[in-house]
């Protein structure tokens, strides 16, 4: 070995020795939790990707997206507003760590009283996906794998944004009905559409929660190229919902209506974060934005 | 004018009136008297068409009451209830105008004739000076006279008053009594349900005694309301005395238990 690498090797050995000693000297409570409950698809899938099998996962609301197959045998907890999972069912699983979101804030106090560690993890933008992946990694003691996963995710996101040819104006709305409850730039869906090359109709508007009820006048004036609706409903309802939206008289003159580019998105990938964020962007580009 | 025979009234599952008679004629005042719960008001209401009778015959000028509906009956008789509703924001003038409604067609406005009739009614009842007052600001006696004005605006030949004096003081009662007697003298047929036997004796041409759901006596007051009748029906030791000019007195042995 040449002098520089030899020095580096020795420095590395020292660092490792110090780290090992420090790790050995840490009290037992810093050990990584083994019994974890993940209430969202994002946290559940992230755990699966990190090679951890949670003891319980939250029921996926409002969508038919598939979870990692490794989670198939994991107990599913039904979730309901405002507390989230049934506390008794949760307690029966005896988790040490619960990965939750602010939606279930009401139930989190009770969870903490039962001695569980509760951490909210909800990426609200694509940039936060990698960051939150690393946070989860730190919580469960799989920092190295999490870092690798985070890098992978960021690369996927970057790749999905290559060669964007067109930047259509997009109106993204959720819920049923014709009054636009529109996604703003600071919502997950809004961020996905932006990164996929779309220009949000609601650009320039901010509101807490990321959604706002937008006047149809603004929709007509700003004339979107594409309208994407994310309604709730069973699979069988989607065709009728789609027909209802496509025949909205208020949108008659928009490019989206005239060019038959009013789409209904099934699944919840536009409503909340997904580990495979890059795939979400590619799907949006391919199916809706066509760029 | 009014002829009611064998009237039977059942409300819910209870038979209030078993068989009662009532006759009223123009220019005469008939007082219907009796203990509480005997069925006086029920008889008056049935005769006036406000309560359906389950048996018996009631006719006005020979026509059975079943065939007299709505405005037709309203132009034959006016009913003054015991406790009328006193709404907010309504003036005396407005109330008496309401009394005129049987004469005003569905989409017509009041005519001069109607307005005159309303004026006359208020004058006759002695309430013209209250025309702009709110009903809610009137005393008991004033309100009762307004009620009579409302009924007079109907310009019906018969008037049925259900205990108009029961909650009034002495002076107000006397005023109402005078008014009703004058109206009978003017030619109206007046049926007056009343508690006060002395008052009844003073103003009535005829008295009908109702007891336990039956009319047990009918005739001139002094003939009917004898000591025996008062003992029988009201279970008190009492007798009526009548002087001239409507001066009557009821003597009651209040403290004697007559059972």
């Amino acid at each position: 070995m040449t002098p520089a690498p030899r020095f580096a090797a020795r420095a590395l050995a020292c660092a490792l020795a110090i780290t090992a000693t420090a790790a050995a000297a840490t009290p037992a409570t810093a050990k990584a939790p083994t019994r974890i409950v993940a209430l969202t698809p994002f946290t559940a899938n992230t755990l699966a990707h990190l090679g951890i099998k949670p003891v319980g996962i939250g029921q996926t609301l409002g969508g038919h997206d598939k979870l990692d197959p490794a989670l198939k045998s994991v107990k599913t907890l039904p979730l309901s507003h405002p507390a989230g999972p049934n506390l008794e069912q949760l307690a029966a699983l005896n988790p040490q760590l619960v990965l939750s979101t602010p939606t279930w804030q009401r139930g989190e106090t009770a969870m903490r009283k039962l001695g569980m560690k509760v951490v909210d993890v909800e990426p609200r933008s694509l940039a936060e996906v990698a960051v939150d992946t690393k946070r989860i990694g730190a919580l469960v003691g799989r920092t190295a794998q999490a870092n690798r996963l985070a890098t992978q995710i960021d690369r996927g996101i970057a790749n999905a944004q290559k060669n964007i040819r067109k930047h259509p104006t997009v109106l993204l709305i959720i819920g049923v009905g014709r009054t636009p409850y529109a996604a703003l730039e600071n919502s997950w869906g809004g961020d996905v559409v932006k990164k996929a090359g779309g220009r949000l109709l609601t650009r320039g508007l901010r509101a807490s929660g990321g959604f706002a009820r937008i006047s149809n006048e603004t929709v007509v004036e700003r004339d979107p190229d594409v309208i994407i609706a994310v309604p709730h409903g069973a699979a069988g309802d989607i065709p009728r919902l789609a027909r209802y939206l496509k025949t909205n008289p208020a949108w008659k003159t928009t490019k989206a209506a005239r060019n038959k580019r009013i789409y209904v998105s099934t699944g919840n990938s536009l409503l909340q974060a997904w580990t495979d964020a890059g795939r979400t962007i590619s799907d949006v580009r391919r199916s809706f934005l066509k760029n | 004018m009014l002829e009611a025979r064998g009237v039977q009234v059942t409300i819910g599952s209870k038979e209030i009136l078993h068989s009662a008679d009532l006759v009223a004629n123009a220019g005469k005042l008939v007082a219907v008297v009796g203990p509480n719960g005997a069925g006086k008001s029920t008889l008056a209401r049935a005769a006036g068409g406000l309560q359906r009778a389950s048996a018996g015959s009631i006719s006005w000028n020979g026509e059975p009451i079943e065939r007299l509906r709505g405005r037709k009956l309203a132009k034959l008789r006016a009913f003054i209830p015991q406790r009328p509703r006193v709404p907010d924001g309504v003036r005396v003038q407005d109330a008496v105008t309401i009394g005129r409604s049987p004469h005003i067609g569905p989409f017509q406005r009041e005519t001069k004739a109607d307005r005159d009739a309303i004026e006359r009614a208020m004058e006759r009842a002695g309430v013209t000076q209250y025309a702009d007052r709110l009903l809610t600001t009137l005393s008991g006696g004033e309100l009762q006279r307004v009620q009579i004005a409302v009924a007079l605006a109907q310009e019906a030949p018969a008037l049925i008053a259900d205990e108009p004096t029961s909650h009034l003081d002495l002076g107000a009662s006397a005023a109402v009594a005078r008014l009703l007697r004058d109206l009978a003298d003017d030619g109206l047929a007046v049926v007056l349900v009343v508690h006060d036997l002395a008052l009844a004796t003073a103003v009535a041409d005829e008295v009908v005694v109702v007891s336990d759901g039956r009319s047990v006596a009918a005739g001139p007051p002094l003939d009917v309301l004898t000591g025996a009748c008062l003992a029988d029906v009201w279970h008190v030791d009492a007798h009526l005395e009548a002087g001239d000019a409507g001066h009557t007195a009821l003597h009651v042995a209040w403290l004697r238990d007559h059972r």
Partner: protein, 328 residues
């Protein structure tokens, strides 16, 4: 008409005309007044401005007038028929029923979303029908007490059913929340076309009921003496109010505040309880308040649309309290 009553009518009429102008001229998008007028007279070329004025603002203005007038009239009819100043479409169960009908479609059968106005209308009428069926039983048929209690019971039932549905389908709740909060939508003429016959029938019936309701003022006995049929009048008045309120709810969700407060405003300002004054003027005032409230709700935070309820309350309540203080 005495000066006081006339001036109330004139003020309300002038405000309504101004409000119509404002509703057509103002909105999330700035359109020059010239173009607004051209669009209405058919002189504007097709384009977003024309679309906005004729297909969004005009139907919405018409809806606001119809709904505001209907709710005002419904409240006046109910307060007159029931002799109770607290009467409003809530009392006969319509609001609860309509709310449940809408939530049923929004949350449980979202595929049938096109039937939303119909669902609200049908359930509103059904709830009222149950109330009437209960209140018209027994000897005290059509008596006020029984009617109000039946209304409270039915209302409570449907509200509970609505809440339960919202909890069961809690992930879909957002759509229902907006509808329940109440407010107009800019969706063109389709909804109006579906329900305008109900408004027409209701308003015509209300006009015919004005005199009969006046005859109930002195109580049922005096009304009977006059040859009126108080219970029948009460039933028809409540049924008419139910039709008007259900049709209103099917267009705008739950805005019962108008039905309760508008007739009081009119009575306090005009100084008379006569239905021949209160019913038509409640229509005028109700339409004005809703139209002004809706215009503000569209413009204040444009392009975001706020719910119209708070604006109506902000307009109506101070006026109401001020008038209340002035009365004896």
């Amino acid at each position: 008409m005495p000066l006081r009553r006339l001036s109330v009518v004139m003020i309300a009429a002038v405000t309504l005309v101004a409000a119509i102008g404002a509703s057509l001229a103002l909105g999330a998008v700035s359109i020059p007044l010239r173009d607004v007028i051209d669009a209405l007279t058919g002189n504007l070329d097709p384009g977003p401005f024309k679309q906005i004025v004729t297909e969004l603002r005009l139907p919405r203005t018409v809806d606001a007038i119809l709904v505001g007038a209907s709710l005002g009239v419904a409240g006046a009819l109910l307060q007159g028929a029931l002799g109770n100043p607290l009467a409003s479409p809530d009392v006969i169960g319509v609001t609860g029923g309509a709310g449940f009908g809408a939530v049923l479609i929004l949350l449980v059968f979202p595929g049938s979303i096109a039937l939303l106005p119909v669902g609200a209308l049908v359930f509103g009428l059904a709830a009222a029908a149950i109330v009437f069926a209960v209140a018209w039983s027994g000897e005290s048929r059509g008596g006020i007490g029984k009617l109000i209690l039946a209304g409270i019971g039915v209302q409570a039932f449907f509200f509970a059913a609505t809440t339960a549905t919202m909890v069961i389908y809690s992930d879909r709740v957002q759509s229902a929340v907006f509808w329940l909060a109440g407010g107009l939508v800019s969706e063109g003429w389709t909804n109006t076309e579906a329900v305008w016959p109900y408004f027409a029938v209701g308003l015509i019936a209300a006009a015919a009921l004005m005199r009969p309701l006046d005859r109930l003022a002195l109580g049922d006995d005096v009304a009977a003496s006059l040859g009126a049929r108080p219970r029948l009048i009460r039933l028809i008045a409540c049924a008419t109010a139910a039709v008007l309120a259900s049709a209103a709810a099917s267009l705008v969700g739950l805005l019962s505040f108008l039905g309760l407060v508008t007739p009081h405003l009119v009575r306090l300002a005009g100084g008379t309880p006569s239905h021949r004054y209160v019913v038509p003027v409640s229509a005028l005032v109700g339409a004005t308040i809703l139209l002004v409230g809706d215009t503000l709700a569209r413009v204040v935070a444009a392009p975001v649309e706020l719910p119209v309820g708070p604006f109506m309350v902000a307009l109506g309540v101070p006026l109401f309290l001020w008038l209340l203080r002035k009365t004896v």
